[in-house]
């Protein structure tokens, strides 16, 4: 039997809600693993790519350099890259800070916020901490993205419909109920 196509997933500047929605396909996950193997993904906790992937699912936009590096890796390893959810597509809640200079965000978060206790007034700055980007970028402003799945998060049915269509080479058809948000 030919090797199954691989799917990788990542959560960048997201809340993991989109990943919860992937898991929300419930027992269909059994059908899914008939079709695919998971590669680098929080779902199987694989930290590095093991090979070429058919599909990469990206949750969240890029708020720091680590996100950018991760996204570049995904672009390099995946045939199709899909932005999943509002944060990946538009920046989402994290991008609310885009209207403020970074310094103001830091000051509020680490110095002046009502619950902050920080007598030394330092910002966290361990060398292991990735640098923060001036603003939060949607994924398609950093690398080429092939598809966008809207929603916050997109419903499990939407993700399922998109994945199965792509994996079986059929056109992606999302009925109105799956792309209606009120």
């Amino acid at each position: 039997m030919a090797a199954k196509p691989k799917v990788a997933t990542a959560s960048l500047a997201g809340c993991f809600g989109c990943h919860m929605s992937i898991l929300d396909i419930d027992e269909r996950i059994l059908d899914l693993i008939e079709l695919i193997d998971f590669d680098k993904s929080p779902i199987d906790d694989l930290k590095e790519f093991t090979g070429r992937c058919a599909i990469g699912l990206i949750e969240g936009g890029c708020c720091n350099e680590e996100n950018v590096r991760n996204l570049i890796e995904f672009r390099k390893h995946c045939d199709l890259l899909i932005s999943v959810g509002e944060c990946a597509i538009c920046g989402g809640i994290p991008a609310l800070r885009n209207t403020l200079p970074l310094q103001e965000c830091f000051d509020e978060a680490y110095k002046h916020g009502p619950t902050v206790y920080n007598p030394s007034g330092q910002y966290p700055n361990d060398p292991d901490l990735p640098l923060i980007l001036n603003k939060v970028y949607p994924c398609h402003e950093v690398v080429k993205i092939d598809y966008h799945l809207q929603g916050c998060p997109p419903s499990a049915d939407t993700i399922w419909a998109a994945l199965t269509a792509l994996l079986t080479g059929k056109p992606v058809q999302l009925p109105y109920e799956l792309i209606k948000y009120d």
Binding site: E65, E66, R69, N125, L131, L133, N134, Y137, E141, K144
Partner: protein
């Protein structure tokens, strides 16, 4: 507000009959009298007119010529359209700023002078130009600009600014302007001698249905851009129900690079008004509205005087030229600086005393226009043709031009050429022949029909000016080799971003995205895939926009992409070996604040030659 100010407002409202439909006139008068239409003024106007405050507020905030906070007693509006930029508007701007000690968008601390930019003021043939309150000044350079600023500082008024007058009626006592006509070529129809009343008398000898038949036989089509058959429009208007109908003359002429109506109003106002009167007779209207853009306010007194003269001569008013039962008069409606008001439904909104919001079509104005009544909106040039057709006969007119495009067309020529100005040419002229006529030897690109039209390159210079081939409202902006067509498209997009009424998302957002992408590409952050993005976004914006503005605004981008793709490609930097990051994502720039705050450089991405990851 002072008691005196409040009294002024009360008097202004009263003079307009406290009629909400006259809100434009009221706001214009208040702005002029008090230097602003403040929040208090808005309250008072709303009270006098018995309308919701928001109606007044939304009107005041819509038009460029109104302001809530006081501007200078003298407002300098420097035109910054493409042609003015090409002719040194930047140096003029710098000289004004230095001499006045204020920047654009500011008012001098003593409240004497404000400095602003205006998109096209209808003087591209004598650029760079500016309006000093109502007074146009032309052919500026930095020396003249300094001189101008000194004079305005010294005298505090534009009253003694103009020393020499332009040709023809520009020197008329009621105009006294330095603007010149630049009529380079006259033709048999419009820029030809005309005896006032001759067309009208012939029209009144016919029945209204016969007049419409004659206009149909002449095959006259609208000269405002869309080219709709005028006779048919009148027929629809006449046959629509109701007992009140209106004629509107569109003299808004806001399309950058278009200025032929300016010349018509200066030299042939009788012809226009006569055309309106004939139109009124044909469709059964008793009232006509002449909508004049604010930038042409310097012609207002003159035009008003011509109207008065026509009333005295029995060519307007009751029982016109002795024709029992035919009563028709014309009211002048001033605009207040909004390009979209040239769109006929927006123009009607504006005449009704509202924001210049376009309306859904259908119903078309011919069915339901001004105040809900059937209305025919016609361009000033169209109406000139009407008067001449009645005078000389439809056969005479139809014999000129080409099969599908009868008569002559006024062209507004500007940009890189020896003889910019107005040309009356028969339809059927080849673009290359036109270029010879105007003294343009090195033309590399032509913007046909203004920003909403198309940018064409040499391979289309053999096309023919007529409705069936190269259709246009008449504006040709010429560009020589060496001009940056992508930057020109960007400037046109700036214009549309500014002028979109904002009602519908495709236009309000789409134009901004198109413009921003052009800015990125011009900054060297473009990539090949951006071109597909521009094309798709442009098409979507056109498809999904509600009115003609958004349905045409992506044209500068789409037509330059079609005809000047290499100009875009030349702006793409070679890939810096950092695939797959997109060319327009500048990682080092994105990390700049973060690394300052952390006091260290990125350990993940070390800059390659100071560039990308």
């Amino acid at each position: 507000m002072s008691a005196q100010g409040a009294a002024h407002i009360k008097a202004i409202c009263k003079a307009a009959g406290n009629d909400p439909a006259r809100l434009m006139d009221i706001a214009i008068a208040v702005q002029k009298q008090l230097g602003a239409v403040s929040d208090t003024a808005i309250d008072l106007i709303a009270t006098h007119l018995k309308i919701p405050r928001v109606d007044v507020d939304s009107l005041v905030t819509f038009y460029a010529f109104f302001s809530k906070t006081p501007k200078g007693r003298v407002i300098i509006r420097l035109c910054n359209d493409v042609v003015d930029q090409m002719n040194g508007a930047a140096e003029v701007a710098a000289a004004l700023e230095t001499e006045l000690g204020i920047r654009f968008g500011e008012t001098s601390p003593d409240g004497a002078i404000s400095l602003e930019y205006a998109p096209c003021i209808g003087l591209s043939d004598q650029a760079p130009a500016a309006l000093i309150n109502d007074v146009p000044v032309t052919h500026l350079d930095s020396g003249k600009a300094r001189h101008l600023a000194q004079l305005l500082k010294r005298e505090g008024t534009q009253a003694r600014l103009v020393k020499t007058f332009g040709d023809g009626n520009n020197a008329h006592d009621l105009i006294r302007s330095m603007v010149v006509n630049n009529i380079r070529e006259t033709g048999p129809v419009i820029l030809a001698p005309y005896t006032s009343g001759s067309g009208l008398k012939k029209a009144l000898a016919l029945s209204p249905a016969e007049v419409i038949r004659d206009i149909k036989t002449s095959r006259l089509r609208g000269r405002g851009g869309a080219g709709f058959p005028t006779g048919m429009k009148w027929d629809f208007t006449r046959q629509a129900g109701g007992d009140q109908r209106f004629i509107i003359c569109n003299a808004d002429e806001g399309e950058p690079g278009t200025f032929k109506d300016r010349v018509l109003m200066t030299e042939c106002p009788d012809l226009i008004f006569e055309g309106m009167t004939i139109a009124g007779y044909a469709v059964g209207a008793a009232e006509g509205i002449f909508y004049l853009r604010a930038e042409y306010a310097y012609l207002e007194k003159f035009l008003t005087a011509i109207l008065t003269q026509r009333r005295k001569a029995g060519q307007l008013g009751q029982t016109i030229c002795g024709k029992a039962g035919f009563h028709f008069d014309i009211r002048l409606q001033m605009g207040a600086g909004a390009y979209v008001c040239g769109e006929e439904t927006a123009l009607i909104s504006s005449c009704e005393g509202r924001r210049g919001d376009p309306k859904n079509r259908p119903p078309f104005p011919a069915q339901k226009g001004y105040k809900g009544c059937p209305t025919s909106v016609n361009n000033a040039e169209t109406l000139c043709c009407v008067a001449r057709i009645l005078e000389c006969g439809p056969g005479w007119f139809a014999a000129m031009g080409t099969k599908g495009s009868a008569g002559t067309k006024l062209l507004s020529i500007s940009g890189d050429c020896a003889r910019p100005g107005v040309y009356e040419v028969p339809f059927g002229v080849k673009v290359s022949d036109l270029l010879k006529k105007v003294g343009a030897d090195h033309t590399a690109a032509i913007q046909v029909g203004g920003p909403s039209g198309r940018m064409i390159g040499p391979k289309e210079f053999n096309r023919i000016i007529c409705y069936d081939d190269l259709s246009t409202g008449g504006s040709f902006i010429l560009f020589n080799k060496g001009r940056n067509v992508v930057d020109i498209a960007r400037q046109f997009m700036d214009f549309f971003v500014e002028e979109s009424c904002g009602y519908c998302t495709p236009c309000r957002v789409g134009n901004v995205l198109l413009r921003n992408k052009l800015v990125e590409i011009l900054a060297g952050h473009g990539a090949l895939e951006d071109l597909a993005y521009l094309e798709e976004l442009g098409r979507t914006t056109k498809l999904a926009s509600r009115c003609g503005l958004g349905q045409t605004s992506p044209n500068p981008v789409l037509s330059t992409l079609e005809n000047f793709r290499p100009a875009y490609e030349a702006l793409f930097k070679k890939s810096r070996g950092h695939e797959p990051v997109l060319a327009n994502f500048d990682l080092q720039a994105a990390l700049s604040q973060g690394s300052i705050l952390a006091g260290r450089a990125s350990s993940i991405f070390t800059p390659v030659n100071g560039s990308q990851p």
